[in-house]
Symmetry: C2
Subunit: 555 residues, 2 copies
């Protein structure tokens, strides 16, 4: 059975029943159809947040298909529910780029899915669209100011930092020229589009702690410089109120359910290789207000998602996980152990053992943050018992619990052992968040700390452009912001070919962008695109919808 | 009081109560919040459509602010409700371009508004976004095919007809170059963006009669030509199923209410100067299935909106209005009579009488279609009784009823006389639709008929480009499609400076586009942009949202 056919075979109770189980009165629900609802921010209760337990799910360095963090997160949520715990799963929203490209959606898999799967993977409640419109309104206002004769801001069109965005994989939009065609059509300049998940507006939506905070952050976006080299912020274009108006509903967390009726908040969706890679602060805080346990995930491997979650999001949100789950797959260990793509599903104990070095490094990293992780082995049908036993044995030798999760095939029942292991891990009371750096350290110190401690690099090099960017950041007084590294998810290093646990490598900061609104600095390591392309045969070619509206081929 | 403050002062009952009054069971509602809902297509009942009465509201040649067709339509709907009739108002959705630009939203005004005003004027239920994504997915698939080595379609990038779109006023995107930056970033070519309301996908959504019809029409979009000069349609890119999946929910009409609780379907929003300018066929048919009377409108003046409604939409939808209401304002008559912008609000009987020639020509045009129109004088506070009496007298002299509508100030009560006049007009039984041309006539004959009969032109000229376009249309076997003229809304002619009733002029077809999916030909008269620009001080600069989310400055 495919994910979509499993999803379509389950009839869920209306969302108002899920809300009622969380104690949310029907009057507080803003339904979007029968199975989705937005929730008002007044449901966030600070006194409950402090008492609830946050469980962060992260992963080893992934293969292109991903290692199933979302599937494990949902399974773990359902598993905790089965143990009688009041739990809320809190996840990111999918982007349409991967849905129509190669990777597919982001609603989990098998019997561990959030539902309605098709809706969530398409437009859902319109949040991505609202981000896109706010981003592009700012771009239009900026170009309109450039176009207006004698505009007081005197924006230099050669300095524009702000790009337009679109939530699709569309490589042709990476580098464009706009404003062609003469005086009526604007001022010609170099431009480009990011995918919406890579927009600073998405990052802002996910870090905002309230509506006024959202507006303030939007106003702080740095968009360009004047001819006098003074920074131009979005607030100088009087853009932030209109942008906030566009994002008014998008700021409210979305309530859905897992196939086993565990409540789930699915809200916000920044990528983890170029942004913070985790759902909104408001959804996390709301989940902690509504449940005793919140299971959440951070994108890609722990070197990206977990590092940013623990160093950035926790700082801004005033949160600290009670436990960290590290998802590994036998498939990915074979990959890191040297299996070519064609042999990823071929059992191979030797490759597994060699590839364990990748998992070991992630374990060490999580320990540096003050946590003893629980390893969740996300089970695939091609795994042999010997391979699973080997991974468990290697983990146990390091004092780390490693549990098989079969929630893809069995739902929450397949994650019951994992749920128990996580509860036991929390009960020990030994996990205490230790951020790796202090935000007020020098920028290069912060970057080096991440590169050395998390990636295992022996040093950091800076291009002339990066040095200039750092000087600009100093000049603007923004060196005290945390670091949001932009790096390939395929390697600890900035070279995607260096899989497993590379050593002795240096990383290069090519440039350093400034997300003055979101509140972080973005050192860009290696080459990295913010607008993916479609594969030669896109997923869209395999999709169908029949005369009754039944969809197939969406994954 | 502003429109938004009036709208915010009215507390409406939940949308499920409005639905219940129409006999729609709650299980059929897909709520979007408490005051909006999507309705399933199975509510369309052909046997009821035939018995219900459709009332088309159109207008004289408008000033830039518009003459209040939407306000009159809503007022007339409320007025008919007050007379005990079961009525549904069926309207277009607003575009964000005018909302943040100059003109504002499209939810009516004063006490004749559809609600929730802010939601409808912003993202509403996501329909515009779905159109945009479907449009842009097709563009990405097209560029991806061009990028793919040895792609079997062998698309010539110099022939691409399909543009990307964005629902904002953004002149810098009118003409662009995409695909810059080397092999990985696509094939460099000339491109551009339309505003979403001008996308053929919007036109298709609004003409589709069912989900399978939507998919077939999307597949028929002509996007480019091959190096062998063969046409490339969207279906050859396997795009239509994925596009239909994106539009699955957008195809369902949206139910809201007027401030006086008359049910309203607000669905689809093509512009009337470059597309058909009226809401979806499905919403009109659903309105006629749910009510005994449907009040609907077609954009801009009757030379654009009504002509296309009666020649195109009625043909595709199998519909014919029972009555036509022609909205006029004293302000606009002063304008056509020669008042400069600064004196539009200055009473002037002589200018009014001179400008009546514009209204007279629209009356004659409606009569050519087989209708005796009812003129609705949309009352402004600056009108004098003498001016209103003059307009009425000039109409009566032509045997046409002219009624003052004060629904902006008074709601439905202010349109009671208009409602009675419309009912009396229908009761005469003398209105019978006579389309102005047969679709199977030669293309030039069809174009000439509209230009001579509706615009009053003495002839039509064709550029060499237009002649080439017409030959291509013949070669593709599509000459039998109806005509959707693209022309300025400010004049009967193709020169916006020729106000009132110009005579002796010729019009020039600059080029002739082909909407093979939507099913019409688009002769472009004069210069016309499909992507508006923002004014020097955009409306967004005057918007505010306070800490509680209360919005001001949106109109």
């Amino acid at each position: 059975m495919t994910d979509i056919s499993i999803a379509q075979s389950v009839i869920l109770p209306p969302i108002k029943e899920a809300a009622a189980r969380l104690g949310i009165p029907e009057d507080d629900l803003e339904p979007y159809g029968r199975y989705k609802a937005k929730l008002p921010l007044h449901l966030i209760a600070p006194e409950k947040i402090a008492a609830a337990k946050l469980i962060l799910v992260t992963a080893i360095t992934p293969t292109p298909a991903g290692e199933g963090k979302t599937t494990v997160s949902i399974g773990l949520g359902d598993g905790l529910s089965k143990l009688g715990k009041k739990v809320v799963v809190v996840l990111r929203e999918p982007s349409l780029g991967p849905v129509f490209g190669a990777k597919g959606g982001a609603t989990g898999g098998g019997h561990s899915q959030v539902s309605p799967m098709v809706d969530i993977n398409l437009h859902f409640t319109g949040d991505f669209n609202a981000v896109e419109k706010a981003n592009n309104l700012l771009a239009a206002l900026l170009d309109n100011a450039i176009q207006t004769p004698n505009h007081p801001l005197r924006i230099d069109p050669r300095t524009v930092l702000w790009k337009r965005c679109l939530d699709l994989n569309d490589r042709s939009l990476r580098q464009t020229i706009v404003g062609l065609g003469g005086k009526a059509n604007g001022v010609m300049r170099s431009d480009g589009f990011n995918i919406t998940a890579a927009s600073e507006v998405m990052a802002i939506l996910c870090l905002a702690t309230s509506l006024p905070d959202l507006k303030a952050k939007l106003g702080n976006i740095l968009v360009a410089f004047s001819y006098a080299n003074e920074p131009i912020y979005a607030r100088q274009l009087q853009a932030e109120a209109a942008m906030t108006i566009l994002l008014r509903d998008a700021l409210k967390p979305n309530l859905v359910q897992t196939l086993e009726q565990t409540p789930a908040l699915v809200h916000g969706g920044p990528f983890a290789n170029i942004a913070q890679g985790t759902n909104t602060v408001l959804a996390t805080r709301m989940g902690l207000s509504l449940g005793d346990y919140v299971v959440t995930e951070a994108g890609f491997g722990a070197d990206l998602g977990a590092e940013k979650f623990l160093n950035i999001k926790c700082g801004y949100a005033g949160l600290a996980p009670a436990a960290v789950v590290l998802v590994a797959t036998v498939r990915a260990l074979r990959h890191h152990g040297g299996a070519p793509a064609a042999e990823l599903n071929t059992p191979d104990l030797a490759r597994c053992e060699r590839g364990f070095a990748n998992l070991a490094k992630h374990i060490e990293n999580i320990q540096k943050f003050g946590y003893q992780p629980v390893v969740a082995i996300n089970h695939f049908v091609t795994d042999t018992p010997e391979e699973v036993a080997l991974v468990q044995q290697l983990c146990h030798a390091r004092g780390v619990e490693a549990v098989l999760s079969t929630s893809w095939a069995e739902g929450g029942a397949g994650a019951a052992t994992l749920a128990e292991a996580v509860l036991a891990n929390i009960a020990k009371g030994t996990n205490h968040l230790r951020p790796l750096y202090a935000w007020d350290q020098p920028v290069k110190t912060k970057i080096e700390t991440i590169a050395r401690e998390v990636y295992g690099a022996v040093g950091v090099d800076y291009t002339a452009q990066a040095e200039a960017d750092l000087r600009r950041i100093d000049r603007l007084g923004l060196a005290g912001l945390p670091i949001c590294m932009a790096k390939t998810q395929k390697s600890f290093s900035d070279n995607e070919k260096l899989i497993n646990r590379p050593e002795g490598f240096r990383v290069t900061v090519r440039e350093c962008e400034l997300a003055a609104g979101a509140g972080f600095l973005i050192p860009i390591l290696g080459t990295l695109v913010r607008m993916p392309g479609l594969p030669p045969v896109p997923a869209s070619a395999g999709m169908e919808i029949d005369d009754d509206g039944v969809i197939t081929g969406l994954s």
